[in-house]
């Protein structure tokens, strides 16, 4: 997990982190993990019901 905080400003200008660089509207390849999109309440309810933790990927499309 190489993080370059020192040059973050430069990276943002150059437009930032490759692995997160996809727009919400971008047609994604089929994920193998059943991600719930942008709905914390639903995820929380399901996690409580199934007694498992929530794994969150927080990303931005830039």
């Amino acid at each position: 997990m190489t993080i370059r905080l020192r040059s973050l400003q430069w990276m943002l200008l150059a437009s930032s982190v490759a692995s997160a660089a996809l727009a919400a509207s971008t047609p994604a390849a089929a994920p193998v993990l059943p991600f719930i999109e942008d709905d914390y309440k639903t995820a929380l309810a399901q996690a409580k019901q199934k007694h498992v933790p929530i794994f969150v990927e927080a990303w931005a499309p830039w």
Partner: protein, 375 residues
């Protein structure tokens, strides 16, 4: 992550271990989530304990499949009430999960003192402590930790992380620091060794970050030819990665790094066909036109920059709109249209001011106002 990692079938066996949640932090509907679970770097991954609604484990940055699988195991352990972690590591992980990076430093240090490098949580704890130092701009501590521990993670991806972060931190040391030159030289050697070791199997964006660090090191040494040589190698490697991409999505995911490499190599014109292709493949994605506007602006091709900015503005959402507006104002100023630049910045201030809590950034609002006053 989405283009390369979360599509890997090796992860399917973990599907039942968690409820999986993807949060686009730019969307207004996720502002409350961002307020509750603040994020410092993108992407970030968390394991949340649903009963406590607290982050049990946080991971900053991208990850390979192997790192993710390790993270899943550590995450499951972290939410167990009688987990096997020592109290210092558990305390450090809780503080780190809460985003209290400076408070997490002491317990991580304590935990690492008691851990063997063979401990399955050692590398994660070490990288988390390194991030805490970076987040606090503690370059000397960061470089010292990376130097002290780098040999203990030889042969793992953490070696590359410590080499890259160590070099960045060493470059951040004041010129007056007597140990600076030695630290920079040693980490440069480690970064080169990481890039030359195919067994490390680093992700493309991690390799790209290492090239970027090497480029900075040559610039710091005022060696223009050396910097250019590294930038060219950086471009070549990423271009080869892009050519090998299995899908347009995988190829486009490399755009930001490729743009960084093209910029460093002073070969900005070559970014244009790359971004035009991405714009064609993903017409609803604001990133390619926003990046094109930036490239055209740097090339002083202002009419094309404005056209790309128009397109980006019609697609962009969330806090990123501020950056697009801000760059637009710069283009307008460069064209000599101060009135238009002022109007655009006023719009940016209004938009930034109106963002919901969790997305609103007070420092950014102040900086925009300052920029506006200067026009």
């Amino acid at each position: 992550m989405r283009a390369y990692v979360f599509t890997d079938k090796a992860l399917a066996k973990h599907a039942g271990q968690f409820v999986w949640l993807s949060i686009d932090t730019e969307k207004a509907q996720n502002a409350a989530f961002s307020k509750k679970y603040p994020i410092r770097a993108w992407p970030s991954m968390y394991v949340i304990d649903p009963d406590k609604e607290k982050i049990a484990l946080r991971w900053v940055g991208g990850a390979t499949v192997a790192q993710l699988e390790k993270l899943f195991a550590d995450g499951l352990k972290a939410v167990q009430p009688a987990g096997g972690d020592g109290p210092a590591l558990a305390r450090a992980d809780r503080l780190y999960g809460d985003g209290l990076y400076q408070d997490a430093i002491a317990p991580y240090g304590e935990a690492l003192k008691a851990m063997s490098p063979k401990d399955p949580q050692y590398n994660r704890a070490l990288e988390a402590l390194l991030f805490c130092y970076q987040a606090g701009h503690r370059d000397a501590d960061c470089a010292a930790l990376a130097r002290e521990r780098i040999a203990s993670v030889k042969g793992t991806t953490s070696f590359a992380s410590l080499a890259g972060s160590g070099l960045d931190c060493a470059l951040g040391l004041p010129e007056s620091d007597a140990g600076r030159a030695g630290q920079v030289a040693a980490f440069t050697k480690d970064v080169r060794a990481s890039l030359d070791d195919p067994a490390l199997r680093l992700a493309a964006d991690d390799r790209s970050a290492l090239y970027s660090s090497l480029f900075d090191e040559r610039e710091d040494a005022k060696d223009e030819a050396g910097a250019r040589k590294i930038a060219d190698a950086w471009v070549d490697e990423l271009s080869a990665d892009a050519a090998r991409a299995a899908t347009p999505e995988q190829r486009t995911a490399l755009d930001p790094d490729r743009l960084g490499a093209f910029t460093a190599a002073k070969r900005l014109e070559e970014a244009i066909p790359m971004l035009e292709q991405s714009a064609k493949d993903f017409p609803q994605d604001y990133n390619p036109p926003a990046r094109l506007a930036h490239v055209y602006f740097l090339l002083k091709r202002y009419d094309e920059a404005m056209a790309s900015s128009d397109r980006a503005l019609s697609l962009v959402y969330g806090p990123r709109r501020i950056r697009v507006l801000s760059e637009r104002a710069e283009i307008q100023q460069a064209r000599g249209d101060r009135a238009a630049a002022r109007k655009t910045l006023e719009e940016a201030v209004r938009f930034a001011d109106g963002l919901p809590e969790g997305q609103r950034n007070e420092e950014q609002v102040v900086s925009l106002r300052r920029k506006l006053d200067a026009i």
